[in-house]
């Protein structure tokens, strides 16, 4: 009975994806009666393969997924290796909240305005030299997708840094570093060889989620990516939205191809992990301790520093735009500043902000309860021993993380049809339930490894003192894991705030959130409005991340052992 129950949560989360996928597989093979497709055929795949530039699109998605993830992970590893336990790391922890809170699209707009030929960097050069016209250079939207990858890296690195921070304490860094140092290892070598493997084991799933996301991303690719041809996911959205409804069959076939591309990215990344592991082992047996790494440490600052700088400066630029009057090239600052944009945006944004907040808090709260229940029952099922933490069985994990691996565009249309067939009308509850499907995996991602990594002896002691299961959970486990729990909640909250396609399709446009409003207005290309909405979009997640960073300190009063960061 309990066993069946353990499958209930993952099945509930995966069911909408499965339903949606059926709604994609059928049209991919020619079956969609509403459009006159009554017989199964491979026609859609033939049309898909005949699409011009398809191989380039696939390549862009593959490369985008792999390069983004590899550089983001490497950047985080180098940064932690060089700065763990230093003031730089403490600063990074504090600076993380605003970086995480910036939605992907806003960060991409900000970056675009920094690096475009008419952007901020070009103006810094042009203004003093008196150059009146921007150069005709293909920087944003370059054919190799470098700008797109840069935008993704800038947003994914803070995310991985966050989960790495949450995982660090479980990797026992202080004692391991001390031991390695006593053997004469330099700081970076010591961290990379002794602590990082323990951290990486815990953040492996978030890393893979980043890979899946980057290979199927739509909004960042639209803003920063190449357009002729665009990465696969962008083209699928285009086919899905084409006035020629017969292209929906091609879009469905494309969605299945996207599924394959994402799978290939994940596979390639897992092979890459093997390779990196082998290299690390070879490095270890050489005995090279690399004691002098001062120079390398400076270099290690670059990836994280650049990413953080880009997101932060981009946000500042957008904020400036939201107050700008006319602001032409090569002026470094707008000629007039004013409140006109805000006066028009704020009244219209109040309702959507409230909707966003309610849906995010309901879906993130529900996700946390479900995930804690799932993890705790799993932990109980396998008696974990120290050093070999429990994991979710692959089948359960597969179900829970399915919504992260399957590109949204691939199954949302099918899901929409199913929901309408059931006669459900759009409501806050329904929207929260659909958000839950996307929020829960992220909450699970953030919480699973810290949850299983916690030394089981704490609870054994609690049990030996006569406390029951519930009391142990509430009085021992949750307090120790406060930081991880709140981080997971904040990630869930931010994930819900950022949802665009599900909100639009399932809310049938009747429940506008700040994100759907922002995307609709972004279509108008007015940087002032985009700037104002980017700030509004950042507001709620910023609040969540700031609270999740500050609350543990307040909540841990009286527990001296938890004072360390």
């Amino acid at each position: 009975m309990t066993k069946a129950f353990n499958w209930l949560v993952p099945a509930l989360l995966a069911l909408p994806v499965a339903i949606g996928l059926v709604g994609v597989v059928l049209p991919a093979f020619g079956y969609l009666p509403a459009l006159g497709g009554a017989e199964f055929s491979l026609d859609a795949f033939r049309r898909l393969l005949a699409m011009p530039g398809l191989s380039t699109s696939v390549f862009l998605s593959l490369a985008g997924g792999l390069v983004t993830t590899a550089i983001s992970t490497l950047g985080v590893a180098l940064f932690l290796a060089a700065f763990h336990g230093t003031a730089a790391e403490r600063f990074a922890r504090r600076a993380l909240a605003p970086l995480l809170a910036v939605p992907h699209a806003a960060a991409a707009f900000g970056l675009a305005f920094l690096i475009a030929p008419s952007g901020m960097l070009a103006r810094l050069v042009a203004a003093p030299l008196g150059i009146a016209r921007p150069p005709d250079l293909l920087i944003v939207g370059d054919p190799l997708g470098l700008a797109m990858m840069a935008g993704l890296i800038a947003k994914e690195m803070p995310f991985l840094l966050l989960v790495a921070f949450a995982a660090l304490p479980q990797a026992d860094p202080v004692r391991r570093m001390r031991l390695a140092a006593s053997l004469g290892y330099g700081r970076m070598a010591a961290f990379l060889l002794t602590v990082w493997p323990g951290v990486y084991r815990q953040i492996r799933l978030p890393v893979l989620a980043v890979a899946a996301y980057a290979s199927g991303v739509v909004d960042v690719a639209l803003i920063l990516g190449p357009s002729l041809p665009a990465p696969l996911a962008v083209r699928i959205v285009g086919w899905m939205n084409d006035a020629d409804l017969s292209l929906r069959f091609v879009a469905s076939a494309g969605a299945l191809l996207q599924l394959g591309v994402t799978a290939a990215v994940l596979l390639a990344f897992v092979l890459g992990e093997r390779l990196a592991g082998a290299l690390r082992r070879r490095q270890t047996v050489t005995g090279n301790r690399m004691p002098r790494d001062g120079c390398a440490r400076l270099f290690a600052m670059l990836p994280v520093g650049l990413a953080a700088g880009a997101v932060f400066l981009g946000l500042v630029a957008l904020a400036l735009w939201s107050f700008a009057g006319f602001w032409g090239f090569p002026d470094l600052l707008p000629r007039q500043l004013g409140l006109a944009t805000w006066m028009r945006s704020l009244p219209a944004a109040a309702g959507p902000l409230a909707t966003t907040f309610v849906v995010a808090i309901v879906s993130a709260g529900a996700a946390l309860l479900l995930v804690v229940w799932l993890l705790e029952s799993r932990r109980k099922a396998v008696r974990a021993t120290v050093g070999r933490p429990a994991r979710l069985p692959p089948a359960v994990a597969g179900l829970v993380y399915l919504p992260l691996i399957v590109p949204q565009i691939a199954f949302l249309f099918g899901l929409q049809v199913a929901i309408i067939s059931l006669g459900l009308t759009p409501s806050l509850l329904l929207l929260s339930a659909v958000h839950l499907v996307f929020v829960a995996p992220y909450v699970a991602l953030a919480l699973a490894d810290p949850w299983f990594a916690l030394d089981p002896r704490y609870e054994q002691i609690a049990a030996s003192l006569g406390h029951g299961t519930a009391a142990t959970l509430v009085r021992v486990r949750l307090p120790i894991l406060t930081r991880a729990v709140l981080t997971a909640l904040a990630i869930g909250f931010a994930t819900s705030v950022g949802q665009y396609l599900p909100t639009l399709l399932i809310g049938a446009g009747r429940l506008p959130t700040i994100t759907t409003e922002a995307v609709a207005l972004a279509a108008g290309g007015n940087r002032r409005v985009i700037g104002a909405y980017a700030l509004l979009q950042t507001l709620l997640p910023l609040l969540a991340f700031t609270l999740s960073g500050g609350l543990p300190r307040l909540l841990s009063g009286g527990r001296a052992g938890m004072k360390r960061p």
Partner: protein, 412 residues
């Protein structure tokens, strides 16, 4: 197909039949029709209309909000603007509902639409039966303008009600590129100008609406016999008919912005590129676009409009009611209010929107006519008399084929 029939639909189909028998202008004054309209008004009371309309412009959003407050005061109708980033997603929603067998209580009551999206919905049976010609304010509509009843060569059959006019107009910054009198007067001159100013012209990549429209403009100018474009595309002659377009595009490609390796996403993006000095000539479908952009601080006040003396593409945009709308009566009342002289006057005023009216000046009461004449259209807007002739939209099937061919040639 659709069994469901509300009282309103029955009333409306009677009206449509009655309306078909006599000149549209007389429809509003007929006693029987007026009674029918009273029934529609009565049913509309208290209903909520979900209006799916592109939400990319604050001007337009504010205008729709004003319409909402007016219909609420006058007709007790709640208007909710569902802001879209692409009208096709509304088509997708209705399609999804049809796929799910939701023949009534659909989620959309009114869609801002024209062209390919309309063709798609009409063809797939996603629209309510004709209602437009029976609206009381239809008597003011400029029915001599063929694009009011024929949308991209397809007869609207009253299944969409006109809302505003559109005409392709070009803009340039006189401070950077000199007076507009010296600007190109047709597609060939534009090509020559682009060669003389490499990197300063571009168009949004199809299937963007404005980008596709620009291709149509070039095609109509260059095609040997424009009449062939009014009929559905024919596989046998497609290559021959469109060859001049591809020659023109091949010739301009090397001198396009970014050498044609990238294109602006849409016309608002071109507006930003004009402001940044990256592009010198841009275009839009709204003649008042530049004036309202100057007012909003998006463009410098030295931007001016010009058009091709030989004519530019023009069309009409509409509102349509999906077949499964749950508030058909109220949706009609809103559609009728949208073509009232008062609402059309406000819409043509660039302080609010600047979108050309679909009403015929000579059919309006004198006071309204004067009010239209007194609108300050802004420095960068050409008066209606200087907008030049209208080139008719080709049959939608041409656009589909041209978009495919464009992607085959330049998209890979």
């Amino acid at each position: 197909m659709v069994r469901f029939r509300s009282v309103a639909m029955a009333v409306m189909s009677c009206l449509a039949l009655a309306g078909a028998g006599r000149p549209a202008e007389a429809a509003g004054s007929a006693g029987a029709a007026a009674q029918g309209w009273d029934a529609v008004l009565a049913e509309a009371r208290g209903e909520t209309v979900y209006f799916d309309a592109w939400g990319g412009s604050q001007n337009i959003n504010d205008y729709i909000a004003w319409v909402g407050s007016e219909v609420s005061d006058r007709f007790d109708i709640t208007l909710k603007h569902v802001k879209l980033d692409d009208t096709a997603s509304a088509v997708a929603t209705v399609l999804a509902e049809k796929a799910a067998g939701k023949g009534e209580n659909g989620s959309i009551d009114l869609i801002w639409i024209n062209g390919e999206n309309f063709a798609s919905m009409q063809e797939n049976g996603l629209l309510a039966e004709g209602f437009a010609t029976a609206l009381p304010n239809w008597r003011y509509v400029d029915t001599r303008n063929p694009t009011v009843t024929v949308d991209f060569t397809l007869p609207t059959r009253g299944q969409e009600s006109p809302w505003g006019g559109a005409k392709l107009v070009f803009f340039s910054d006189t401070a950077r590129s000199g007076p507009v009198d010296a600007m190109p007067k047709n597609a060939d001159e534009l090509l020559a100008w682009a060669k003389a100013h490499p990197g300063r012209f571009s168009y949004p990549a199809p299937p963007d609406f404005i980008g596709s429209s620009f291709l149509k403009q070039v095609l109509i100018e260059k095609v040997a016999d424009p009449a062939v474009l009014q009929r559905p595309v024919d596989d046998a002659n497609f290559a021959a008919v469109t060859q001049p377009l591809w020659d023109w595009l091949d010739a301009i490609r090397p001198v396009l912005w970014r050498s044609g390796r990238d294109h602006p996403q849409n016309y608002p993006a071109m507006k930003q590129l004009l402001a940044d000095g990256e592009l010198d000539i841009i275009f839009a479908f709204n003649p008042a676009e530049a004036s309202s952009a100057i007012a909003a601080g998006e463009l410098p006040d030295t931007v001016r409009s010009f058009t091709f003396p030989g004519g530019t593409l023009g069309n009409t945009h509409f509102v349509a009611i999906p077949y499964n709308s749950s508030a058909k009566a109220a949706a009609q009342v809103v559609a009728d209010f949208l073509i009232s002289p008062e609402a059309q006057l406000r819409k043509e005023d660039p302080r609010y929107w600047g979108d050309p009216t679909v009403l015929a000046m000579d059919r309006l009461p004198p006071a309204d006519r004067d009010a239209f004449a007194e609108i300050d259209r802004g420095v960068a807007t050409l008066p209606p008399s200087k907008l030049g002739p209208v080139l008719a939209e080709p049959h939608p099937s041409w656009m589909t084929r041209i978009e495919e061919e464009w992607k085959r040639r330049y998209g890979g």
